[in-house]
């Protein structure tokens, strides 16, 4: 992967000036390349990575395995596109193995998520079965540990 994308993945808030110095290029060049990536749809957005366990909310998250019937034309894509439009669905992947779609779903309560599954997902044309697992705690997300490793305990000066 391009080193610029790597750096943005690690810290999307890095300033253009710092990025330019890191990459040995100019700020204009950095801005142009980011713009190009946005244009091409490679960069889809910049978000904060939160440890929601530390937030004062009752939001619940669930992982849902979905088996669906592929269509003659378009395979899974049409059903997936319909499901992806629900705002409750935060992420969705096509999987190999025992089920087809893996969904990460958010709701205000257990009840709300359960209702979403039974009232919205399960009845959809082409959905064969659902299995819902509620998430209890986040240990790691997007490569970042939620409880960080111990701080820098190296000697302050050494040879």
């Amino acid at each position: 992967m391009d080193a610029l994308l790597d750096l943005l993945k690690k810290n999307a808030r890095e300033s253009d000036a710092t990025l330019a110095k890191l990459l040995g290029t100019t700020e204009q060049e950095v801005r142009a390349r980011i713009a190009a990536y946005e244009q091409e749809g490679v960069i889809r957005g910049f978000q904060a990575l939160l440890n929601t366990d530390r937030l004062d909310t009752n939001d619940v998250r669930a992982v849902i395995e979905l088996r669906i019937r592929p269509e003659r034309e378009g395979g899974f894509d049409r059903v997936a596109a319909r499901i992806g439009k629900f705002p409750q669905v935060e992420s969705m992947y096509l999987m190999s193995g025992a089920y087809d779609l893996l969904l990460f779903v958010k709701g205000a309560s257990l009840q709300e998520v359960a209702n979403f599954v039974s009232a919205r997902l399960a009845p959809l044309d082409g959905v064969l079965s659902t299995a819902t697992h509620f998430m209890l705690k986040t240990y790691k997300d997007q490569g970042v540990l939620m409880e960080s490793e111990p701080h820098d305990d190296r000697l302050q000066v050494c040879p």
Binding site: E14, T18, K21, L22, G24, L155, Q156, C158, P159
Partner: protein
């Protein structure tokens, strides 16, 4: 009680008593315990040891692999190191007779010197350099002979400077590239010229290549890759820098059997063997640690770019070092000595860098900045240094 009754200081041997304290140690004492200091004075990687390596060490303890190993090191590790030497430098070393696993490059260095030096033998080493070299030569009853390297040569060691210092008593030449504290590296013509010099003057070469894996451009040019030098080379390497394993204390020496055997004699009585747990971890590192090295190297590489660009921009001249994780800017434009600069930077701006003079007299006028530190502290340190340099210019 007689009048010549000795007290504790009298028992210290004169050659140890006369050993100066390391300049780094001085500086450490000043920094120690201070809060809010951003330190660019740390000669050790900021990365945690890669987890798969730590995991293997835990597993070694669980399995009970916690006993003495062969003096030379475990056969598995030596075999893996022989393969590593072949792959990295096309250098053939017989794992049974030519590789010795040690407690860091530090011990390997000490062994090498003690194995080859007779009292009064002179040893050429280049400055600025790692602080341990001259003291270790002294402890082995040799005579350290510093050879200068210069900013105009990007701190490469030149044969012209060596020729000025070589005498009939010169026994060995020490090399350390990529270099601590300058980040200097050698290219192929340099290593060839140094090899010829050593052969011409019939010297042994001890090459400390502990930063070899952290080479960013220009390729890795090892003394071990020069076949005609093989019979007079002790090659040293370790796990501390490449795999971020400083606390494991693991290194190794590769040398022809008679030399390995001589080092091993000292090692077997003085150390017995390197930690068995560390050796298990080291085996994991050489066998499966490439991805981790690549990731860390990429990260140092970018940070190097950032620090060099920032320092040059604020008017502290530095060349683009191609290896290790140090930059060595000149602070001569500020009119301060390197010690004054470092002390004021510490006292007024809470940033610690090591004055160049700590690495040898010709390091005066320079500063060692280690960039093995996270991006956020690095940015903050550069901002503070910029403010300091601006204030000085006023």
């Amino acid at each position: 009680m007689t009048t010549d009754s000795k007290s504790a200081p009298d028992f210290v041997a004169p050659h140890v008593r006369s050993l100066p304290k390391s300049g780094i140690r001085d500086f450490f004492d000043i920094v120690a315990g201070r809060k809010d200091v951003i330190s660019l004075g740390i000669g050790e990687p900021d990365f945690q040891t890669p987890w798969h390596i730590r995991e293997r060490a835990i597993e070694a303890i669980e399995r009970g692999a916690t006993r003495y190993t062969s003096n030379l090191g475990t056969p598995e590790l030596r075999q893996a190191l022989a393969a590593y030497m072949r792959q990295s430098f096309h250098a053939e070393y017989d794992w049974q007779h030519e590789i010795l696993v040690t407690v860091g490059v530090s011990e390997a260095f000490d062994l090498a010197l003690r194995a080859i030096l007779s009292p009064g033998d002179e040893v050429l080493y280049h400055e600025p350099c790692f602080v341990a070299y001259a003291p270790l030569i002294r402890m082995a009853h040799g005579v350290p002979v510093p050879v200068e390297t210069f900013r105009k040569d990007d701190f490469r060691l030149t044969v012209a400077e060596l020729e000025k210092k070589v005498t009939p008593r010169t026994r060995a030449l020490l090399l350390n590239f990529p270099n601590n504290p300058t980040g200097a590296t050698l290219d192929l013509t340099d290593t060839e010229a140094l090899a010829d010099f050593a052969i011409r003057h019939n010297l042994l070469v001890i090459s400390d290549e502990v930063y070899s894996e952290l080479t960013y451009e220009g390729g890795r040019h090892s003394m071990a890759a020069i076949p005609r030098l093989r019979d007079r080379l002790i090659f040293l390497n370790g796990f501390s820098k490449a795999w971020s394993m400083t606390g494991f204390r693991l290194g190794y020496a590769c040398a022809p059997a008679p030399l390995t055997d001589a080092m091993m004699k000292i090692h077997q009585f003085g150390m017995m063997c390197a930690s068995s747990i560390s050796q298990t971890a080291g085996l994991e590192a050489v066998r499966h640690g490439d991805a981790a090295i690549n990731e860390m190297r990429d990260s140092y590489h970018l940070r190097r770019n950032f620090v060099v660009a920032s320092l040059n921009e604020m008017g502290l001249d530095c060349f683009m070092p191609r290896g290790a994780f140090y930059v060595f800017p000149s602070i001569q434009s500020t009119g301060l000595s390197s010690k004054e600069f470092a002390l004021r930077l510490l006292n007024e701006y809470n940033v610690a860098c090591v004055p160049g003079g700590a690495f040898g007299a010709c390091g005066e006028g320079f500063l060692r900045c280690a960039y093995a530190t996270g991006m956020e502290p690095l940015k903050e340190a550069m901002d503070r240094m910029r403010t300091f340099v601006r204030a000085l210019a006023r």
